[in-house]
Amino acid sequence: MKESNTVERIRHVLQKCRAEKLPELALSGSYSRQSAYFSRSLLWKTVAFQITGQLEDLNLRMLRECRKDYETLKSELMVPWHELAKDHEFYCDLNVECDLSDSFGKKLKISRMRIEHHPLSTPKTPKMTDIQTLESLIADVDRLFPQFPEYFIENKENKRQLIEVLYIWWKLNGDQYLQGLHEIAGIIFVVLKTESISKTTFQNADRRTSLILELMDSKYIRHDLFSMFHAMTESLIDLYYDETSLLQESIKFDLKLRLVDKYQYHLLKNKLRIESSIWLIRYLRLLLIREIGLEYSFDLWDKLVAFSYTQHPEKLDLSLLLPYIIILLLSLIKPRLIISDYGEALYLLLHYPIDDRNKSHLPSSAILVNEDAGSPTEESTFTYIQENHQSKNSGSYAFVGSNNNDHELLQLDISQITKDAITLYRMSDQDLSILGARIIELYSGLSNEENKEGVLSANPIKIQSYPLGDMLKRSTSWTKKSSSSGKNTNNTSHCNQRRDFDRTRLELRLRNKVSQALKK
């Protein structure tokens, strides 16, 4: 059973380790998707609700309080389902209990009155009315994660829950709900839902087990989502969802880029004349979800959540590493940006060439679901889609895929990228321009040179300057690649990829260079 497996994993971890240690372990890589007892939900909740202690003395105080708070909010800030058109998919009569947990009908109406006619409420002249906001939330959640229709598009109950949480959050926080937030909430929802447990399946649970059940209770997905969403987006909204601050952050980004890679900076800014805010808006607001895809995003968020905790345990800020990660991603496509014109470069930036593992691996994932879960549920589908990629994901360094044309797609080693981003994060400006620039060179395979006239150039890192002779000798597969053809191609390249796990990034890049040169 999937649920008992979740309980087992959490029990195993919390018996050996204090909860507050998990973020550190997640950063170092010993508590990650690759480890057998990893629970993403546990990691994120630990950070969001500041859970501490081991299984015997697990501190769930904040979690409990937040759940209580949401219960109150939910009864006061009712979602106006009844104001939708009567034939609307989500229409719901006020008198009918559309929510199992809403059992206090009378109270609801009174509270609603109180909110709407509050004498002290500041007339902010909101741009959107309640019903307009609800409709725009529905429109966005209706098309959330189309690559995984089972999450929301085909699951009305999930949609309803997500809409409710976003609506209540908007009532409480925002003048305006902004697109993109629904996607962040969607990610958190998926994580919570995947490992949630229905208490009723465990009848006679001992005290320890019931603590775990409480922590993962499926009845409180919305409650936990609300608090986590609120905590995780607070700094993002300040920095990226306000237009003025977004422009400020874009300028800060430009300055950082200039420090670590002057060439890339001039290329984008002065030669191609692409204003960074044009593409950064999506990179930043969505924490790269669209750029790197959901699979990588889950892994990346593990690191962002954990890193934030190690910096300030009390404040969740997922933005800390983001600019540096974007610089690294940019460096990976620098060789292509260099030979692009304005249109090509912008296209590349807005369609970051990532290997979309979701699509190509869905069929095999489905088989895995059947193997394991017996009756595949929506939740199990995504769990195993993720786990299916463990082997592929475990060590190849940002290595460029097999076809050598414009459409080549990148695979990322999130672990390595976050490590390097943390290194950059900790550097002073001076270090960034010297040591940071070195790291960047490894990603782009290009090194910048500036002559006396101030002319900048970027050249491939020279082969002979690499202390890689030994490694090249040891590697046997790097010449095979260009000769493989036809039916064998699949096997060979698969083989190569396996081998590639043991290699260094420099070697991989070299191999690409050489095979391209040979091809020519």
Binding site: S136, A139, D140, D142, R143, L144, F145, P146, P149, I153, L178, Q179, G180, H182, E183, E243, T244, L246, L247, Y263, H266, L267, N270, K271, E275, S277, I278, W279, I281, R282, R285, L286, R290, P335, R336, I338, I339, D341, G343, L346, Y347, L350, D406, L446, E453, G454, V455, L456, S457, A458, N459, P460, K513, Q516, A517, K520
Partner: protein
Amino acid sequence: MSTRKKTILKVIILGDSGVGKTSLMQQFINGKFSQQYKATIGADFLPKDLVIDDKQVTMQIWDTAGQERFQSLGVAFYRGSDCCVLVYDVTNTKSFENLQSWKDEFLIQANIKDPDNFPFVVIGNKIDVEENKRLVSSKKAQSLCASMGNLPYFETSAKEAVNVEQAFDVVARNALQQEESLEFSDDYTDAVNIHVDGDSYGSCGC
């Protein structure tokens, strides 16, 4: 530096959230429709090569987010446009009523020198819906377009590929006309001191 010289037409698509801007662009460029396109964040960008009366052009289509009214960012998105496509949803009255304000905002932020002659094209999308769901009549739309300066008007279905080709043909022609009427020499400078080592890189880069 590259000596390629091609005519680039920048086309920007505006309109309320959910009217089908992304679907129209996808239908025109890739000839396909999907029930679910994600909400556009900021803007998206797709190029398409076309031949208009024996002339090679590249159309750069900018698909924008419909929910937000950008200020300074709008300037960055709209600048240099050759044609602006205003889209509404025939089942959504509000989206129709907002056409004028999208047009005004565009004119202000794109810094159009001659607003009266700038080419706009209006598209009423989703005509594949049942007749009783349609809330904006052709007549009403046509009279609005006439009042906004005789703007070309098309009714399309991105879903069933109705009229999309035709609408974008007019968009392209009008954009080309606009582009050719502009003096672009004054805008062109390449004073930046960047040297791309074409030989050593080009030999292995592509």
